[in-house]
Structures are given as structure tokens and as C-alpha cells.
């Protein structure tokens, strides 16, 4: 992981998040230098261990880009990913850590603009949190 801030790890479903990321890049949309994109075969592969390890190793936020509900190639992978994110948010809260550090982001494969927008929203949220603290 580089030294730039904020460090955002994006776990991307190969069916939606990854094409959206590639689309955002092809459009030249602004993305943070320290955005680390990790391709997963399905959003449902975003296991709790992966997410927590990313935070543990210094990520400021972890975003899971998966398909919209009803669009999962594996039927329920996106629903499972969202449930895991919701569960981990409660765990982070119990640790006194902001649950907003983890975000579940449904996205369509051709939505590069939406992908970039959600990443920028996360960057802004992190900035405002840092300014408050």
C-alpha cells in the first residue's frame, strides 16, 4: 500500500465493480492515487476476513462494489456481501471505530461515473472526519 491518503481498498465483483472501475478509468474520471482495487469473482467473495484485514493493515476505508440486488450472476452473492458488511459495521461500532469505514456499493458494469462518484463521496467523508478529529 502506498503512503498517499486516503487509502481505500475496493473489493470489486468481476461482473459489476470491475467493469465499472475500468469504465471510470477509460473516461478519465478522477480516482484517488491510493485506491487499491481487488477483483473478486463475485461480491459474495468479499469475506469478513478480507475486509477486516484491509482495515487492520492500514486502509482508511473498504468499499465493496457488487451488483444491484436481483442482478447477481450467482443469485445471492451481493446479498451475502451486504449482510457481511452490515454485520462488520456493528462489530466496528462495538470497537468504537466508525462503521462508515466499510461501505457496500451496488453498481452497474457500465456505470463508471457512479463508481467514481461513490469513491469521491467516500474520500470526502474521510476528509471531513479527519478534519473533525
Amino acid at each position: 500500500m502506498g503512503s498517499e491518503k486516503p487509502k481505500i481498498v475496493a473489493f470489486c465483483c468481476e461482473e459489476s465493480g470491475m467493469p465499472a472501475y475500468e469504465h471510470a478509468k477509460s473516461l478519465g474520471l478522477p480516482l484517488p492515487d491510493a485506491l487499491k482495487v481487488i477483483a473478486l469473482p463475485c461480491g459474495g467473495k468479499a469475506e469478513t476476513g478480507y475486509i477486516m484485514k484491509a482495515l487492520d493493515e492500514g486502509a482508511d476505508a473498504v468499499m465493496i462494489f457488487a451488483c444491484y440486488e436481483g442482478n447477481c450472476k450467482y443469485v445471492q452473492g451481493n446479498i451475502r456481501a451486504k449482510k457481511r458488511v452490515d454485520y462488520l459495521k456493528t462489530r466496528l461500532e462495538s470497537l468504537g471505530i466508525l462503521p462508515e469505514k466499510i461501505a457496500f456499493c451496488p453498481v452497474a458494469p457500465a456505470s463508471g461515473a457512479r463508481f467514481a462518484e461513490m469513491v469521491q463521496e467516500e474520500v470526502q467523508a474521510l476528509d471531513s472526519r479527519e478534519n473533525k478529529s
Binding site: 469478513t48 476476513g49 477486516m52 487492520d56 462489530r91 470497537l95 468504537g96 471505530i97
Partner: protein, 222 residues
């Protein structure tokens, strides 16, 4: 299998407060299957502990290990080297595993990361239900394979009681009446006549009422 669930983080962090380096020890048996203390849970909990302590300005080193089984002495050697390095072990095995760690590594505190809850099985993915009370005197042959001790809220041996309504127990509409289940199962087996045999009062001495239990098998002893 033994079903367990993780203790609240506040409680875990409070237990770990005096320590700077711990071993987080999972178990590859029951608690892996019920997803409370297997390899994945070791990874997630270790990260959570490190994050919380770092955030509190009091970092902790967490070694991670998932032992084959924490309930058998022969697997304890898997943790020997790691135990030399740490102040304490946080075990996310069942209470048996925690106690065997405490017995084996007598000079290091063994802390429980789980609450050992009951003996049961997964009803569906993510749903676990109690099935056995380990009473030491099984009556499943009389009750259609459904345990009245573990599944009836009153552990009645000759039920149902007046609290059985529409197949549900009076304690909650989510709890099935064990004796309704027993009736349905015996009917399906063509063994309803079993219900005419009164089961005599149980000898609870084989259960916890007789104190800590012990089995000695001379044929197995070396």
C-alpha cells in the same frame, strides 16, 4: 456438535487489557463448523483486536493459530512454541478447549473468547438449534428420536403439558412443542403406542446433578 458464539467485543477487550502480546487460538472442530472459532474467525477477531487497541493508543501483538482440535491433549503441542512468546492465550474454542489450554500451559492465563452455548446442529445456514442436553441417560428410542430433555422447555418425560398450543410451546411462538414433534414422529413410525408407556422418573445422577462426570475405560487405558 458444540455450538458457541463470540463474546461481546467489550468483554474480550476488557479481558485483554493487561496484555501486550497474545496468542489467539482457534479450533478446527465444532466451532469451525458453527463459524464461531475457526480459522476465518481467528483472522477477523485478530484484526478487530489489533484495530481496537491501536485506536485506543495501546497496541497489542496478536499471534494467530487454529489448532486441529483444542479438546485433545495430543494437539496441544501445536501451540507450544507460540505460547512461549505470549503473555496469555485468548482461546476461541469451546470451554473444553480453553480449559485444556489452561491445564497444558499452566503458567499463562487462558481467556475465553466464546460463550459455549449448547449441543446442537445447524438447522439451516446460520441457524443453530439445541438437540442434546448430555443428560447421560438417553431416551431417544422411546420418543421417536426427538429429545424431550433438550427440546421440551420443561424437560418433561411424559408430555405435552397444558402450554402446548397449535404445536408451539407457551414460552414462544417460535419454539416448537417437543411433545407435538414426538407425537407426529411416533405417528409416522406407527409407534403411537409408545405414548401409553409412562416413562418413569429419570435418574438425574447421570446428568450434572451427580456432580462433574467422568468415564474410565480400562480397555482403552495405556
Amino acid at each position: 456438535m458444540i455450538i458457541a458464539e463470540q463474546k461481546p467485543m467489550e468483554e474480550i477487550l476488557e479481558m485483554l487489557a493487561p496484555y501486550k502480546k497474545i496468542l489467539l487460538a482457534g479450533c478446527g472442530a465444532c466451532v469451525t463448523v458453527c463459524q464461531a472459532g475457526g480459522e476465518k474467525e481467528v483472522g477477523v477477531l485478530a484484526s478487530q483486536i489489533r484495530l481496537a487497541r491501536k485506536d485506543a493508543g495501546n497496541p497489542i501483538e496478536v499471534l494467530e493459530m487454529t489448532m486441529t482440535r483444542q479438546c485433545e491433549p495430543e494437539f496441544m503441542e501445536e501451540a507450544e512454541d507460540a505460547m512461549k512468546e505470549v503473555d496469555a492465550v485468548l482461546s476461541i474454542a469451546c470451554g473444553i478447549g480453553v480449559q485444556l489450554m489452561a491445564k497444558t500451559f499452566f503458567d499463562k492465563p487462558a481467556l475465553p473468547g466464546l460463550n459455549t452455548t449448547f449441543l446442537g446442529f445447524p438447522e439451516e445456514h446460520g441457524v443453530f438449534t439445541e438437540r442434546c442436553a448430555a443428560c447421560g441417560n438417553c431416551v431417544l428410542h422411546l420418543t421417536g428420536g426427538i429429545c424431550p430433555i433438550a427440546r421440551c422447555s420443561k424437560s418433561l418425560l411424559n408430555g405435552p403439558c397444558g402450554g402446548s398450543q397449535d404445536g408451539k410451546c407457551e414460552i414462544s411462538p417460535d419454539v416448537e412443542c417437543a411433545w407435538q414433534l414426538i407425537y407426529d414422529r411416533l405417528k409416522a413410525l406407527g409407534q403411537l403406542e409408545n405414548l401409553e408407556n409412562i416413562i418413569p422418573p429419570k435418574k438425574w445422577i447421570t446428568s450434572r446433578d451427580g456432580g462433574p462426570r467422568k468415564i474410565v475405560r480400562e480397555d482403552l487405558r495405556i
